[in-house]
Amino acid sequence: MSVPIRCEIFHECETATGVENMAIDEVLLERAISERMGHFRLYQWSAPTITLGYFQDYQPETIPEEMKSLDVVRRLTGGGAILHHHELTYSCSLPSENRWQESPSDLYSEIHQVIRDALARQGFACEFRGVSKSFPAGEPFLCYSRGDERDLVHGSHKVVGSAQRRRKGAILQHGSILIGRSQFAPQFPGVHELGLKGQDLNVSELCEEIVQVMFSLFENCLKTAQLPVALRPSVDALVQDKYRYAGRRFESSKGSRSGL
């Protein structure tokens, strides 16, 4: 059964560190569970950062040489590692009894559709990949090398990908929009190089476009400019107690994958 979702949508003008961003998103997921408040958040990073998928190994040999100097933090969500540099990130946290509960994967397609439309209005064309890529020897380390059917691609190049965490019926979905080529992963061209022929993408305008269209996905939306102040102590506590350990596994694990 789907019930209307109250939802706050915000595009943050200030950047934050990796540990702050991940702590904020976990607080928003917990708020979705405890207060039934949904969120859609667009944000960027104060320094180039790698986020690891929840189950990815964190061992020196798994990090590409050119990225070894960068900050690393683990996401709650699954999927592959993302290099957050010349990149726009979103998080969407929804309470249980949302209309995607029966098929949570549909949330990928619906949010990607919004992003595709927003990019099109900025002059950049991309489309759903349509067919998932198979990697019999194991999924690549970086998200942008992986291939899900709901990815947005320009030709053979992935420009938008997402992953989820599902907790008590609630959903946290992280997604990444590759704006431009990073010096730390030059094999991945972004929107800037692929479709705009060197013209600058207006990221602020793109964010506004995404936020405006996102209102059509949720009921009872409220646009805000920043994280609610009342949530800041919870964010600070998570930064101190959990995320300050950067790429370490958060919880003890019995699995065969090792932590730091």
């Binding site: 929840y54 999924e139 019995k254």
Partner: protein
């Protein structure tokens, strides 16, 4: 396991009580949402769990989903075979795909769970 003999949670776990030990797994409904399972993290044997506590994580290619303790108790066994054969969980969630066994702290926790008819009614509600 006979589905009619099990107890259930709204978050799609099942419980089978034998004496003071409960076997716990996920339902067909939950297993049906796990396509391309890639990792599973199980709780440590000896860990004491409270009702509703997060105790593990299952990852598919694009999502990580938490596991919960439907009842309180001490973990006395986990199904290590799941780490080597994910098909057990997706193909036989009510049988060889069981997840863990708990020494039950309070048997009345089990009484408070849904019976089969109530669980099916809950799934109907989610689907509409």
């Amino acid at each position: 396991m006979d589905p009619a003999e099990l107890k259930y949670t709204k978050t799609h776990e099942w419980v089978s009580l034998d004496g003071d030990v409960a076997t716990i797994g996920i339902t067909d409904f939950a297993a049906g949402q796990l396509t391309d399972l890639s990792y599973i993290e199980l709780p440590d044997v000896g860990r004491t769990l409270s009702v509703g506590e997060d105790c593990g994580v299952i990852e598919t290619v694009k999502a990580a989903s938490d596991l919960y303790a439907p009842i309180a108790g001490e973990v006395v066994e986990v199904n290590g075979a799941l780490e080597d054969d994910f098909d057990l969980l997706t193909n036989e969630p009510l049988g060889d795909g069981w997840i863990m066994k708990l020494k039950v702290a309070n048997a009345t926790d089990v009484d408070a769970l849904l019976d089969h008819a109530a669980y099916l009614a809950h799934c109907e509600t989610e689907e509409h």
